[in-house]
Amino acid sequence: MFKRSFLGFGVSEGRMGRFLVACMALGFAALVAAGVAAGWSTAQNERHTRDVNHTYEVELAIGRARVLTEQSETARRGYVLTAKPVYLATYRAAMRALPATLDRLAMQTRDNPRQQRNLAMLRQSIDDLSRQREVTIALTGNGESARAVTVFQGESNARRMLVLRARADAMVAEEQRLLAQRDAAQQSSVRIFYATLAIAGLLVILVAIASLLTVRRYTRDLATSRDALRDFADTLEEQVEERTADLTRANEEIQRFAYIVSHDLRSPLVNVMGFTAELESATTEIGALIDRAEATAPELVTEDARLAAREDLPEAIRFIRTSTQKMDRLINAILKLSREGRRVIAPQRLDVTAMVETIAASLQTQIEQRGATLAIDAPLPGLVSDRLAIEQIFSNLIENAVKYLSPDRPGHIVVRGKTHGKRVTFEFEDNGRGIAPNDHQRVFDLFRRAGNQDQPGEGIGLAHVRALAYRLGGVIDVTSELGRGTTFRLNLPKIFVDPTTAATREPQQ
């Protein structure tokens, strides 16, 4: 369960990172788009202003042309009626200024064919008009004023002026139309700009919200996984404690069972051994009787009777005896084991280094006989535990190491220890004959032994060690390679806690 949640967490972390980068990229893209839109809009605006100015200039030029035309007309009329030269001068000045104004208008509207066409028609009207005027002016200049007035009256002058004005108006209208068109374009570009800006802004806000949510979820996931991790660490310790408690309970049960069984097996065994002894003394008597009978009355003694008394009976009794003795040893071993298990554990502070040194000293002769060395990786971590039990475990393991050294090479045994938090691991390493992989668990079973049976023993030592280790809330395991050596690893709580008191304390927590 925990493993899966960790895995899930790892995946989401990578996905989250990619998502955040994507969000940021999108946000930046939106900002760039907004910037480009602003630039484009400014350019549009500038062009539009220029166009508006242009329109006004064109309108101004048209207005000027109209004014000049009207002015020249008024001046001509004055000259024809009064023949005063001052009017003629005014007329000439206005007519001189008119072509330049028209030329500038042509320049300004050169990109617009419609205005060009309008302008051409305007020029036509002005030309027609000025030809008429020249006729009346010439007549007035010759002194024929009355004739000039008649010509003037006949020349549908006013109508010509009206046409001219309409043409100028058409040009203005054309410019106004263009202006309206440009205004519309300007409006739409402004709308596009605002739309772009709004979309970019919305995008930035969305990205910001998404990023914020993701980061928040990530933080929450992080907190959750941290909590899970902490819980896991807590439960791990609990699990270890629970497991050790289970082992201790199972161990206790087995020992109670062993005690009852061995105890009840003892009663019948007492009978078997007792009556075998009775049988033996009876056999001695019968043997003596056969001897006497042979001496005094040999005809009474059959071959079968003699064989039975002298060989069969003693042989049978001998086998019964050796078997019962073996059984007695085994029962005693179980009893010893169970008694050890029932013993009250008295935890006290132990100097493990000194203890191992004492054990090494007691085994010194054996170690020297075998040409071996025993190294203690001092100082070994101290313990608060039961002295007798720890002594028993250590001496059994060291004795075993000495006992099963390989004759092929000088033996070397190392005892070392290490503290991990609330627990201590001791290692008993040797370069002895080793244990085959099949036998790694078997060696801890009662009455089971591994390898050549060339050493005395009942197969009790390691069973005893394991039972004691469980009793002290510890575990023991072995790593070994046949022919290379063996390492026993003993893991014990640094401070022994009685599982029965620990169990009663637990529900209160």
Binding site: V270, M273, F275, A277, D328, N332
Partner: protein
């Protein structure tokens, strides 16, 4: 109720084989007192307290008691015999059993057991122990039972 009355031995032992071996070895030690054998607690108690020829009405006795009985615990019998105002409270009780549990031994002595012997599994030791018990029985003084009422 005279001093000349011989002490009878009451053996409470559920294992017939053990009983037989104990009896044999007691006889071998030269003790010829009558031995009455019971294989369960109920009949043994009935004999001790109620029987016409039982110790309460009929002279001094010594009890050999096994703790592992089919119908009741040997310690219950011990407690009944040794109860403070019981008529048999001065009767010597030898607990002879396979139990060698320290707590159990202490409990027996607390209840007033006079001797506690663990049956050795090794027969030679067993025989020796019983013979020594026989020697011990031949020298101890057994108090009279106080007549009732």
């Amino acid at each position: 109720m005279t001093d000349h009355k011989s002490v009878s031995i009451v053996m409470i032992e559920d294992d017939e084989g053990h009983a037989r071996l104990i009896e044999k070895n007691i006889r071998r030690a030269g003790i010829l007192n009558a031995i009455t054998h019971f294989t369960d607690g109920t009949t043994a108690l009935d004999y001790l307290f109620n029987s016409a020829d039982g110790p309460q009405r009929n002279g001094p006795a010594l009890v050999l008691l096994d703790l592992n009985l089919p119908d009741m615990s040997g310690t219950d019998i011990l407690a009944k015999i040794k109860s403070a105002d019981g008529p048999l409270r001065r009767t010597p009780v030898v607990v002879l059993t396979t139990t060698d549990d320290k707590v159990e031994i202490q409990r027996c002595y607390d209840l007033g057991c006079n001797v506690y012997i663990t049956k050795p599994v090794n027969y030679e030791s067993f025989a020796t122990a019983i013979r020594q018990l026989g020697l011990f029985l031949s020298v101890i003084q057994v108090p009279d039972i106080e007549p009732q009422g």
